[in-house]
């Protein structure tokens, strides 16, 4: 087990991502943040707070559960459905930033795009992740990446956040080969 990101690294990465999002979108006026439960939702809340600090205004953020849209449901026992909460401003015509903790095969993001499509029609959809560990199975890439972590498929990347895990830390478990 090795620590890939410390608490400080995570904090710095989120701040950087916040700035990049604001820069690319020319400010926060049209931005809606949607975190993918569980940890992506907490990351979205943190990014919203950071942006509010920068911009001096409330940033609409919410959660988007993608369980019902997964294409791998039958590979595992039933998963708990997590809350979906779309900010009251909605997503139509907005620049929606999907936020997740780890980008891996890309299937979660595909499901999220399907789920989003049922909710409304954003102007753009962008993707921010804390960790990109590679091994994509779909043509999907992140617009904002906290850290690229080259890993072996046999390893697992574990993101821990104080909101649920009592520590901020990203660790890699298992041997590379």
């Amino acid at each position: 087990m090795s620590v890939a990101l410390s608490a400080e690294d995570i904090s710095r990465a989120l701040t950087r991502i916040s700035h990049e999002i604001l820069e690319r979108n020319h400010g926060s006026a049209e931005i809606t943040l949607l975190g993918i439960p569980t940890r992506g939702a907490h990351l979205a809340a943190r990014i919203a707070t950071i942006m509010t600090g920068i911009e001096g205004r409330e940033i609409p953020y919410g959660t988007l559960d993608i369980t019902l849209y997964r294409d791998d449901l039958r590979l595992r026992p039933p998963r708990t459905i997590m809350p979906t909460s779309i900010p009251s401003i909605g997503i139509a015509g907005r620049d929606v930033i999907l936020i997740d903790d780890v980008l891996y095969s890309g299937r979660t993001i595909r499901a999220a795009l399907d789920a989003l499509g049922e909710v409304g029609r954003p102007r753009t959809v962008q993707l921010a992740v804390l960790v990109d560990r590679g091994h994509r199975e779909l043509p999907i890439r992140a617009d904002y990446v906290g850290k690229n972590l080259p890993t072996s498929p046999r390893q697992s990347v574990k993101v821990q956040l104080t909101e649920i895990d009592s520590i901020d830390e990203v660790v890699i478990e298992g041997e590379a080969n």
Binding site: L68, R74, R76, R79, T84
Partner: protein, 315 residues
């Protein structure tokens, strides 16, 4: 969990899991999303060997919202009413590739027979078997009660619920007694002694013959349908006398606690067990029960069908 045959198949955690799933699904259903891709490619058969339009439609709506293919196989004109055995029917459904069978049958235990005898490999969901159980109805009732009365708690601890009427012949009562008590509620059964089963004292519920004494002390009153033909079987003298002692009318309703709700699984006999003004009153959540039924049945289908095969020993 592979089948839902009886509330006894569920732990409190299982039941709460279904209620929570239904809560999330309800939120989605209230929005603009009307169809989810979750069960695309799965086939669900509604095997209704007994008339029940509302339960069948509720399961059908639930399955369709999850994108499952639905085959309706109902009593009128089906082979079940022509004396074909349940076994033969099950084997036919198996040959059709049913992933789940939702069964309504007049024989107690029919769902369990279907599940136990391995006549078919899919999941079996009991949509009411004789006078045994109706677990999806109890789950939707618990869901409705929780939504109105639990103040955010997951379970029903501390709530007191009266189930009133023909308990003897009621599968709704059996499933509700088991589920509501599993979730921590106090259940009191109110009925004339003729309409309570011998052995009711072993149930996790108390019994009262005095409706008026119970009314002020409960958070919810669940009225059961009383069939007219029970009169001829000597269960009570006549409809008028039944109503006088066990019917919920506006006078009795006025004795209820201010927060208490009125429930009925339907179909109602207005004027017999419940008066029209009570059924249509602000306390009545009867119409909402129907809405919640779809969400609960979606949750049941999701829990039973969305996941892959469970590992041995899990759940």
């Amino acid at each position: 969990m592979r089948h839902l045959l009886s509330i006894t198949d569920l732990t409190a955690a299982d039941a709460i899991g279904i209620l929570n799933t239904a809560t999330e699904l309800a939120r989605i259903n209230e929005g603009q999303v009307k169809k989810l891709p979750t069960l695309r490619g799965r086939t669900i058969v509604n095997l209704f060997a007994e008339d029940s339009t509302r339960t069948r439609i509720s399961f059908e709506a639930a399955a369709k919202r999850l994108s499952a293919d639905v085959i309706n196989f109902s009593a009128k004109g089906s082979s079940l009413s022509k004396g074909e055995s349940l076994k033969d029917t099950a084997q036919t459904l198996q040959a059709m590739g049913a992933d789940a069978v939702v069964i309504r049958h007049s024989a107690s235990g029919a769902a369990q027979r279907l599940a136990d005898l391995e006549w078919m490999s899919g999941s079996v969901i009991n949509a009411g078997d004789g006078t045994h159980e109706h677990p999806s109805q109890a789950l939707l009732d618990a869901f409705t009660i929780r939504k109105h009365l639990s103040k955010g708690a997951n379970d029903l601890a501390g709530l007191r619920i009266a189930i009133v009427g023909d308990v003897l012949h009621s599968r709704v009562a059996r499933s509700n007694v088991l589920l509501l008590s599993l979730l921590g509620a106090d259940v009191v059964l109110v009925a004339p002694p003729t309409l309570l089963p011998v052995g009711v004292e072993t149930w996790p519920a108390s019994v009262s013959y005095d409706f008026d004494a119970v009314i002020p002390n409960v958070d919810a009153i669940m009225m059961l349908r009383v069939q007219q033909e029970r009169m001829t079987d000597l269960f009570f003298p006549n409809a008028r006398e039944y109503s006088r002692y066990f019917g919920l009318n506006s006078e009795r309703m006025s004795a209820m606690a201010t927060h208490a709700i009125v429930m009925h699984p339907g179909p109602m006999n207005r004027g017999l067990e419940i008066s029209a003004d009570v059924a249509d009153s602000a306390r009545s959540v009867i119409v909402e029960q129907v809405t919640n039924g779809v969400n609960i049945r979606m949750a049941i289908l999701y829990v039973l069908l969305a996941g892959g095969p469970l590992e041995v020993g899990s759940n």
